[in-house]
């Protein structure tokens, strides 16, 4: 981080959003450190998009506060707003524009426009400069939106389902660009996507939402380290397990095997648990990828 910079690019404090009786976001408190690529994950209706739209000032919170790069975007001026670039899956460039006009418009609005990157992305995305948006395919429209978002020279990128409709090759190009962007040190990315394999490739931190509430947040590698699936070659009761770990799922129905997914995993805790069990065979521990972790946490007991 550079001297004088805020340690958090995004600060969310007890953010709540109600749509009538429906509680979309429930007292969410979260911090996104400057310089990180942060994944905001959740099932449909979990409150990700509402949260993001409140972050960028498109929705008003029912209560709570949000600060982006140290400022409240609702009252921010032009220069502060231009430090933030936002792309959502529902965003559309007007149908009468063509890519050339859209790029020119964004270039003239962005004092720190990255022209070399724009040229590079034009080539790598194989974008046509002419042709009205109304006649372009979904993927081509998304590519132009990605280009104008990435090239704004913003300090904070907020991306809601950015790869929707993109082909595999373009997704790879986009993910490379995200990594390059974040490698500049003072740049931060908040990324929300259901494509968890993509998310896992680029993020260093994640937060997971369910029903508008925060389920977990932290460094991705710590999460991966802390959540394991344990295969015991013997019956192990839920009580015995819960002494050492937080149990996310438990299957003790097999006579000679117990399978459980646990969080707070450490080798020490496992050794202590195993020390008290009869030795009947090999104990296996299975590491999870992000998708497995997500499913385990979303389906975990105690909900």
């Amino acid at each position: 981080m550079f001297p004088g910079m805020s340690p958090s690019a995004i600060e969310i404090d007890r953010l709540t959003k109600r749509y009538g009786r429906k509680l979309a976001v429930d007292a969410l408190t979260l911090e996104v450190p400057t310089g990180s690529i942060f994944g905001l994950l959740g099932n449909n209706g979990a409150g990700k998009t509402s949260t993001i739209r409140m972050l960028v000032g498109h929705l008003y919170p029912t209560s709570g506060a949000v600060r982006l790069l140290g400022t409240d975007l609702h009252s921010a001026g032009e220069s502060d707003r231009r430090r933030i670039a936002y792309l959502s899956d529902r965003m559309r460039i007007p149908g009468w524009m063509d890519p050339r006009a859209a790029i020119a418009m964004n270039q003239s609005l962005s004092p720190r426009w990255d022209a070399p990157l724009a040229e590079r992305l034009m080539d790598r995305f194989r974008l046509r400069r002419a042709g009205r948006f109304s006649r372009l395919s979904l993927g081509e429209r998304r590519k132009v939106l990605l280009l104008v978002t990435l090239c704004q020279g913003a300090e904070l990128l907020i991306l809601d389902e950015p790869t929707l409709g993109l082909d595999v090759e373009s997704r790879h190009v986009f993910l490379e660009c995200l990594l390059e962007f974040a490698c500049q040190g003072d740049r931060t990315v908040l990324l929300s996507s259901h494509l968890l394999s993509d998310v896992e490739r680029v993020v260093d931190r994640v937060a997971m939402l369910r029903d508008g509430r925060l389920v977990t947040q932290g460094v991705l590698e710590d999460l991966k380290e802390g959540i394991r699936k344990l295969h015991f070659p013997a019956p192990v009761s839920r009580d015995e397990l819960s002494v050492h770990f937080k149990i996310l799922s438990y299957d003790g129905t097999q006579p000679r095997q117990t399978v459980a997914t646990v969080s707070d995993f450490t080798d020490d805790k496992l050794q202590r648990l195993v020390g008290g069990l009869p030795q009947t065979g090999e104990l296996r521990t299975q590491r999870f990828n992000l998708e497995d972790i997500f499913v385990a946490l979303m389906n975990s007991v105690g909900d």
């Binding site: 498109h58 929705l59 001026g77 460039i93 007007p94 939106l145």
Partner: protein
């Protein structure tokens, strides 16, 4: 002013504005003369109403995905509102000026004489006096522009179950309507002491209501939720 945004909005409005220009031109050239403040006033009121409504709707009613795009380009709400308001009002002003040019500037006069209409003998003598209908057209156009702006904004902030700066904005709106009515009644009352016709009354009403309605719309626009 932001000229990038101005260019963008002008491009969006150009087809509707051109259509309004064509209709206004046709009306101004084809309706039989002499045009007075009392005869056929409703035509100019409707023309003004249509032009103001359409231009305001084009300026301020973004579709969901496009609205999200424009609102994410780094503009503040006030900047977006006043850019669009000034551009819309300017487009209406050009229409008004064009109409005045046709009536008082000799286009209508020349056209009706050249084409040999029944009233051709009256021209060019009455040409300058026919411009009396321009204020009626201008007032209804600017007035309906202001009212439509407010209605578009209200539509954006009053979605079911979504109270969006709601009470404040509704307060403005509730204050706005009786103020407009009271002020216009007072002005019209003053004017009816004179011999001025209904065109001037609508002009007075619009002149009073447009600024108040615009302020209410601006207040609402700052609390607008982007729909996508």
């Amino acid at each position: 002013m932001n000229f990038v945004l101005w260019r963008y909005d002008a491009r969006r409005a150009v087809s509707i504005w051109t259509s309004c220009l064509a209709v206004v031109s046709a009306l101004a050239l084809l309706i039989d003369g002499p045009l007075t403040d009392n005869d056929l006033t409703w035509i100019w009121q409707f023309a003004g109403l249509g032009a103001g409504t359409l231009i305001a709707w084009r300026m301020f009613a973004d579709t969901g995905g496009t609205q999200a795009y424009v609102f994410s380009r780094g503009f503040s709400r006030s900047q977006l509102f006043w850019n669009r308001w000034i551009l819309g009002m300017s487009l209406v002003a050009v229409l008004v000026f064009w109409m005045w040019l046709i009536l008082a500037g000799g286009l209508r006069s020349g056209w009706r004489q050249w084409a040999g209409f029944g009233d051709a003998g009256l021209y060019p003598l009455i040409a300058p006096y026919e411009a009396i209908i321009v204020p009626t057209f201008a007032a209804t156009a600017w007035g309906s522009f202001a009212v439509t702006t407010l209605l578009v904004v209200l539509r954006g902030i009053q979605r079911p179950g979504r109270v969006v700066g709601g009470r404040g904005t509704l307060g403005w709106w509730m204050l706005d309507v009786p103020l407009c009515v009271a002020a216009s009644v007072a002005v019209v009352g003053l004017l009816t002491e004179t011999t001025l016709g209904p065109g001037w009354m609508i002009t007075a009403w619009a002149a009073v209501s447009a600024p108040l309605t615009t302020l209410a719309a601006w207040h609402g626009y700052r609390h607008l939720e982007v729909s996508a």
